[in-house]
């Protein structure tokens, strides 16, 4: 086996503030070409205490060194489950930087913003086609804000009908954002038990006239398709509720099946997952939301409309839940997602989903029997193992840390909560069989090390820039900023 992880020359680097040298500067501004002006002195501050003074070279070297302490998709395999860490195509970056697209002010009148508006409109239409919804809003900034948008729309629909329902059903496999979002919309959360997939009986037992909606993730966080989804949606509708779908896992279904065709009423997309836009070390993403015809009046605004000649920023309708952001959403992210869809086409998107599912099942086939597989139903785009069979007193965390020494970003760990010691692997379609084989060899070797030499896991990682960090002290005595005295 070739071990990808190795050690090279890694450079130390202080904090910005520790480099600062009074009088140094890293910028140039044009000479002021109008008379100087002054504000009343009681409005003005002295200098900004502690702000750095650095040369351009200092700054460039600083951030270049910091970048080398990171691991990204471009560094290597990044099977972080439920996050869809696929390759981020470089032409998308070039698209977002086209001067006319990057430089346009959000308050530019519609007739002078036709280029961007047309692209936004095309993306709305393509996302609606991929998902089977009647209309898509692009405004939400991320998946969680998409959820909030969708749940606000659901509540607005209920209120418009005079319905005062107060609860939302959420399966125990859900992302934490689902219950947090339900609370932000003023709903109480009722957790549903699932045995791999949600059963009609479980929904039936809780679905009464106090329930506004069911929030599901499909495929769910175990990587399993919710096989009863049609019957569940039908039941929820019969009893006066709506169904929200967390679209985090849409990468399994493009061109295969559409949530809108399953009876789902509202779904958010994660452009930074399914549609290849970079995750940026935490963001920005984008979380467009698709809805059925009945819910269109409640969508946030403004959105983009086309009257056959001109693209317009439309004023939100009276029933709209309002705006989610100051402007039109993370347009730079939308441009990248559009470039991705244009590069693949309909057939290419389906191929991407098929290869994502193939890759997950291949990893599953290679690791089954070495790691415990709690749910044996056929997986879609990701697979969840547990640490039950791990020997030597080692746990999921130790496997994750040892993977770092082998040169991999660890999978998502300890999620979903329904699997104790979960190891959630989502390879995505952009990885080759060779990469998957090397990764699986490493996983198998680590299971062997746990048995024969557990210290290798318990001490890991040893090749990274820092070793395991003391998170307990960090939380007990939080130090959240640099200070001169420190």
């Amino acid at each position: 086996m070739t071990i990808v992880g190795t050690s090279g020359l890694v450079l130390n680097e202080k904090l910005l503030f520790e480099h600062s040298n009074p009088g140094r500067k890293g910028y140039s501004l044009p000479k002021l070409d109008v008379p100087a002006a002054e504000l009343a002195s009681d409005l003005c501050r002295e200098e900004i205490d502690g702000f750095p003074e650095l040369s351009e070279v200092d700054v460039v070297r600083h951030f270049t060194r910091l970048s080398t302490w990171n691991y990204g998709v471009d560094s290597g395999f990044y099977p972080l489950g439920s996050c869809t860490m696929k390759y981020n195509p470089k032409v998308n970056e070039a698209v977002a930087r086209i001067p006319g697209l990057a430089g346009i002010h959000p308050a530019t009148p519609s007739h002078l913003a036709q280029g961007t508006l047309e692209l936004m409109y095309r993306l709305q239409v393509d996302l609606a086609e991929i998902s089977g919804f009647a209309k898509v809003t692009l405004q939400p900034a991320a998946g969680a804000q998409g959820e909030l948008t969708g749940m606000l729309v659901i509540r607005a629909w209920h209120e418009a009908r005079g319905s005062k329902r107060s609860k939302v059903l959420i399966p125990d496999t859900a992302h934490g954002t689902n219950p947090a979002t339900a609370a932000l919309t003023g709903y109480d959360v009722v957790p549903l038990a699932s045995d791999g997939v949600l059963t009609l009986e479980e929904v039936e037992a809780h679905m009464d006239d106090s329930v506004a909606a069911l929030m599901v993730t499909n495929p769910n966080t175990l990587g399993l398709f919710e096989t009863n989804i049609e019957e569940i949606c039908k039941l929820v509708h019969e009893r006066g509720g709506l169904v929200y779908c967390d679209g985090a896992n849409l990468n399994a279904l493009m061109g295969i099946a559409r949530p809108g065709d399953m009876g789902i009423d509202v779904m958010h997309f994660n452009l930074h997952k399914t549609f290849s836009t970079p995750h940026g070390g935490g963001g920005p993403g984008a979380g467009p939301v698709g809805v059925t015809t009945e819910l269109i009046p409640y969508l946030p605004g403004p959105g983009v409309e086309f009257d056959g000649e001109m693209y317009q920023i439309e004023t939100p309708k009276a029933a709209s839940v309002g705006r989610m952001l100051a402007f039109h959403g993370n347009v730079g992210v939308m441009l990248r997602a559009y470039a991705y869809i244009r590069s693949l086409g309909g057939e290419g998107l389906k191929h991407a989903s098929e290869m994502a599912v193939l890759n997950a099942n291949y990893v599953r086939a290679r690791l089954e029997g070495v790691y415990d597989l709690p749910y044996t139903t056929r997986s879609l785009h990701e697979v969840v193992f547990s640490d039950k069979d791990l020997e030597g007193g080692c746990h999921t965390l130790d496997v994750a840390k040892r993977l770092i020494d082998y040169g991999y970003h660890p999978p998502t760990i300890y999620f979903p909560l329904v699997v104790k010691g979960a190891i959630m692997i989502e390879p995505t379609e952009t990885e080759s069989q060779e990469v998957l084989d090397e990764f699986c060899d490493a996983m198998i070797a680590i299971a062997g090390e746990a048995r024969d030499n557990p210290e290798l896991l318990l001490q890991a990682p040893v090749r990274s820039r820092v070793r395991r960090l003391d998170e307990t002290t960090a939380a007990r005595k939080p130090k959240l900023r640099w200070q001169e005295t420190s």
Partner: protein, 451 residues
């Protein structure tokens, strides 16, 4: 089919299916019921090659007016500022932009240290004790600040200055929509600041929070100290929203003036206008309130060998641990945008931010002076201003702005839609990017048409 982002050859697929133990790709989808299958190809345009894609999108981009094609005086929450070349080159290091949330600190120290630096810079800038790793934008940060104030005070009444950016006011209303909160507007005084008499009349012991812009939407610099004092007299929190943080290079920090929560947008710090996003919200609080704040936080610690390192911390506030009891539902934030703002602040530093603020002040003051002498136009507010101001026009605003467009000028944002009583007004923004000739051209174009 093979595609450049998907490495599988036909041979690979066959081998992999065999290892899995199924015959066809179709067999992998057995759990997806036939009744929900899409039985036709997706109706999406044919794939474009790299050359075709760029050609097509560059052509579309020509339909956009930008500060490169027009003289632009648009502001109102998004600002045309100098962007140092260094920023885009550094954030194009793909170790930064192709990583995700730093859940595994040992291989994420680059992101984590940069966030720690961002948190520190925001604290220094705002005069506050602690800042988070970012929010979506200034408006959503403002909404989260209102919710936090509601939790801290256990009160439900929110006073929003009418001089606060109307888009921020809109997002606050959206977030509060179903939380049984009472949103009350506070009037604007003749100087363009929040009306203190109206504020005093509406503030009471049920008020959770007072929210004002700094500078406000009309470019006027609020008296934050007085707003804080009045809010605190009733046990209410003061949220200060900074949509144009370049101003803080010059203005007293909101923290020094008594604000309880300071939010704002970092777009001015090196982010392209990009038709409104991605931008980056910042969120800063006092030490005592740290555990009640939304969003991710990075803290300093040490590793097994005693080396300094950084980790995500105080996660028990967050949705993945606390679920429906979390302080917010935020998960992904605007990390890369926060990095851009961090690099911008590092380059500009102590002197640069002040010099840039002074240039904005001077350019806007010059433009105000020149515009105030034009027949048919007048300045609406006389309070101290930063880089924006409101102009009243005798001729209909739409006509004036469209005449300016013909002269290649984006003259400002009409205010009638957000303020029906100001249908005869527009908001003009002048930054260090507007050369004197551009300002003179604006003046000449207005003179030409107003007679």
């Amino acid at each position: 089919m093979t595609m450049r982002y998907i490495p599988h050859t036909t041979g690979d697929v066959t081998q992999m299916l065999e290892r899995i133990g199924v015959a066809t790709l179709e067999d992998l989808f057995v759990e997806v019921p036939e009744s929900v299958r899409l039985k036709r190809p997706l109706d999406i345009q044919e794939p474009a090659s790299e050359t075709e894609l760029l050609r097509e999108l560059k052509a579309l981009a020509l339909g956009n007016a930008t500060p490169e094609t027009h003289k632009s005086f648009l502001g109102g929450g998004a600002y045309h500022h100098f962007i140092p070349t260094v920023i885009d080159l550094l954030v194009s290091r793909s170790e930064f932009y192709t990583a995700y949330t730093p859940y595994q600190p040992e291989i994420s120290q680059g992101t984590l240290q940069a966030v720690f630096e961002f948190q520190t810079l925001i604290c220094q800038l705002t005069g506050m004790d602690a800042a988070n790793a970012s929010m979506y934008d200034g408006a959503s940060a403002c909404a989260e600040a209102v919710l936090m104030a509601m939790r801290l005070t256990r009160r439900k009444k929110v006073l929003l200055s009418k001089a606060l950016n109307p888009r921020y006011r809109g997002v606050v209303a959206t977030y509060c929509r179903y939380l049984n909160m009472e949103l009350v507007d506070v009037a604007v005084a003749a100087d363009g600041r929040t009306d203190l008499e109206d504020l005093a009349a509406k503030l009471d012991d049920s008020t959770a929070v007072v929210v004002a812009g700094y500078p406000n939407y009309f470019g006027v610099i609020e008296d934050v100290a007085v707003l804080a004092e009045k809010s605190h007299e009733h046990g209410a929190k003061l949220v200060t929203a900074v949509a144009e943080p370049i101003a803080l290079g010059l203005l007293k920090s909101p923290g020094e003036l008594g604000a309880d929560i300071v939010v704002g947008d970092g777009q001015s710090f090196g982010l392209p206008l990009a038709f409104g996003g991605p931008y980056v919200g910042f969120f800063a609080v006092l030490q005592k309130d740290v555990r009640g704040m939304p969003g991710r936080l990075v803290g300093e610690t040490t590793d097994l060998e005693g080396q300094r390192g950084f980790v995500l911390t105080l996660a028990t506030r967050e949705q993945h641990i606390r679920r429906e009891k979390a302080t917010s539902n935020i998960c992904s934030n605007q990390g890369l945008c926060a990095l851009m703002a961090t690099i911008f602040m590092s380059l500009l530093g102590k002197q640069g931010l002040r010099e840039m603020a002074e240039q904005n002040l001077a350019k806007a003051a010059y433009a105000r002076k020149q515009l105030s002498g034009i027949k048919g136009f007048s300045l609406v507010f006389d309070g101290p201003a930063f880089n924006e101001f409101v102009v009243r026009s005798e001729a209909p605003v739409a006509e004036v702005l469209s005449r300016l467009e013909e002269a290649g000028i984006l003259g400002g944002i009409p205010l009638g839609e957000d303020y029906p009583e100001m249908a005869d007004c527009f908001l003009v923004c002048v930054t260090e990017q507007n050369q004197r000739e551009e300002i003179d051209a604006l003046v000449a174009a207005l003179q030409g048409g107003a007679a």
